[in-house]
Structures are given as structure tokens and as C-alpha cells.
Symmetry: C2
Subunit: 226 residues, 2 copies
Amino acid sequence: MNHNVVSKLQKTLGYIFTKKDLLIQALTHRSANSKHNERLEFLGDSILSFVIANALYHFFPNVNEGDMSRMRATLVKGNTLAKIASEFNLGNYLQLGQGELKSGGFRRESILANTIEALIGSIFLDSNLKTVEKLILKWYKKRLEKISPGDTQKDPKTRLQEYLQSKHLPLPSYLVEQVYGEAHNQLFTIYCEISGVNEKLIGIGSSRRKAEQEAAQNALTKLGLE
Amino acid sequence: MNHNVVSKLQKTLGYIFTKKDLLIQALTHRSANSKHNERLEFLGDSILSFVIANALYHFFPNVNEGDMSRMRATLVKGNTLAKIASEFNLGNYLQLGQGELKSGGFRRESILANTIEALIGSIFLDSNLKTVEKLILKWYKKRLEKISPGDTQKDPKTRLQEYLQSKHLPLPSYLVEQVYGEAHNQLFTIYCEISGVNEKLIGIGSSRRKAEQEAAQNALTKLGLE
């Protein structure tokens, strides 16, 4: 990457790297080079998780653990990170191998989300926790101001539907794959079909409704959305 | 808690609290008081996760993300935390409600594990990240020296069996709950039965072996062991 491109990204991030190679490594997907960003992503993920937990702990002194967990899940999920990545135009800076250059949709979003975590890891290594914490809180400012304990509790089917709608994708189909047991003591297996996703997304529950919610939750997890 | 008891615990932990009420809160289960340790546990969990991730990142410069994740999972899982709690004799200091005083086994282990996380959260709030990081690394010294990328990869059935054996509990039974589909394209549902656990622990897979491993993994998660 040339000097101008690097400067522009550093300006967007709000941080100037001392060790430029850490920045380059954070932007490098494993498809592009053996010196890629996965270890940085591992480190960055845990830093992000702590910084957000600590912020929520102090912003919401009277909210219980369950609500804090749900708010954190909303703030650190792949979908949120991919949005931050797109605000940073991170797609322009990614170092991808030939195979990944063409990939779009869910796969690309997940690469972008992981790169945000890798950047957090690399900034931490280049500076210290205080510095990266301040930066994360700046990146998250509007999201932290907007979040409240109630609004992350939409059920998985609703969240999946809203996500697919936001991407102008067809809605999922829920198919009964099997019903096991006798009336009043049945176990339902539901298959959630999403266009473009080949993986088997299944939910099991004592009612059709519960099994569908579990399948939707499974889909959200597999899509890297939470 | 009287002064002597508090001093003894602080000596064991290797930390003297400025705000004693934070220590008391960390030891208080929700069954005992409305000012309990769950929020501290949420905070402590994320601190522990970051401190261990950071340690592994530096101790193992050439290990990939997957191996680091597995090592971290081993180090922060409920079972490990419960062992640390028992090294600290933490059971003697817990503040429990009447209902919980008699509970033993899995339930007691999970309360002890959560209390270690709550103590981490409370020490962080009483001091700063550097202080609690140093302390965690001291508590984990021998475990960090012992861990290596290979030895956390035992399969879930083996891990479950070893755990139950270590507690002198009967081994689990794996029952075929159903087989779906035609030969060469079947889906097995396996039910893992563990004495004393009423929850339905199920695994689904394209072979009996895979479904059993998934059921065992599900059991490990439900038991709070990872």
C-alpha cells in the first residue's frame, strides 16, 4: 500500500501507527499472505469484548447481567462490526487473495467484521490498552448512546427476518423436517432455509414455534450475525 | 464477615481491597442478597478472557487462532475456575441463600466458578487493569506453564467421560433417539443421559459418532464445563 492510502486509512481510524507492518498485517486476509490477521483478530475480539463490557457496566449501573450480555452481543456481533467497517470504507484497504476477491454477501461481511477486530488487536500492540479503549469508545459513540436494555431482545426469527430484509434478500422458509414422539410429548425438528446458504440450519424444540426460533438463532450464529 | 475471615481471604487472593464492600459483593450469590455478584461476574468474565488471550498471544507467537481459542477455552472454562476456587477454599466465604446452601455437585461448582469471575471484576474496579492482570497471571501461573497447543483437543466424549470419572459419577449413556432419512443420507439424533442431570442433552449428526460427540459437547456446555 502506498503512503497516501495508508495515511487516509489512519485518518479515518483516528490512529497513527508506529509500526506500519502491524496495520498491514491487520488488513491481510489469510487468502493473501501467510502473515495474515487471524491472531490479531483473536486478540482484538477479546479487547473489544472487555471494553464494551466495561462501558456498559458503567453506563448502566442498574441493569442486570442478562441485559448487559444482550447489549454487548448486539454491539460486538459481526453485523455491527461489518457496518463499522463499511463506515471506514475498509473494503478498499483489504488485502485479499484471488479466491476471495470476488466473494460477496455474508462471506465478505464476515471478513470485514474480522478485520475490525484485527485492527483493534494491532492498535493495542502498537500502543496500549488505554489508547485502544479510547478509540473503540469513539468508534462506538453513537451506538453506545443509542443502545438501551430493552431493544436487543427481539426474538431470533424477527432479527433474522429484519436482517435479510435490510439486505433485500428473500425471507427464510421454515420447513418441518420431522416430528418425533406422541401427541403432547412431541419433539419438532425444523429446517430453516435461506437462499444462498447451503449449511443445514436446524432447530429442535417441544413446539413448532420453539424449534423455529432455535433454527433462526442457529442461522444468525452461522451467518456470523451474533 | 468478620475482620479475620476477610484478612485470610485477601491473603489467599494476594490482594487487599480498598473498598471492602466490593469484596463482599463479589462473594454474594443472588440467593443471599439483592446486592449480588452477577454484574461483577459479567465484567470479570470479559477481563479474564482478555488477560488470558493476551498472555497466550505473547507466550505462543507461532500458534494459530484456533489453537489459541482452544487453549483459552480450557483455561477459562467453569471447571478450571471451580478448581481455582477450591484452591482458594472459596466455598468457606460464599454468601448463599438458604436454598443454595445445601446444593452440591454441578450447581455448587458453577456458583464457585462465577465467584472467581466476580472477584476479578471487583478487584479491577477497586484498582486497575494492570493490577488485576498481574494477579490473574499469578493465579494461573502453573496452568499457563503447563498448557500447550496440542493437549486441549481431546474430543467432547472423552472430556465428558474424564470429568465424570474425576467426580466419581457414573458414565453417560448415549441413546439413539431417532434416525431420520434413508440409508447413506441419514440424520441421527442422540440423547446423552447423565445421572443427576434432568435437561435434555441432544446431538444431531450425519453419523451416530458425530451425533454422540455433539451431544457430549452440548452436555459439557450445559454443565458449565466450557
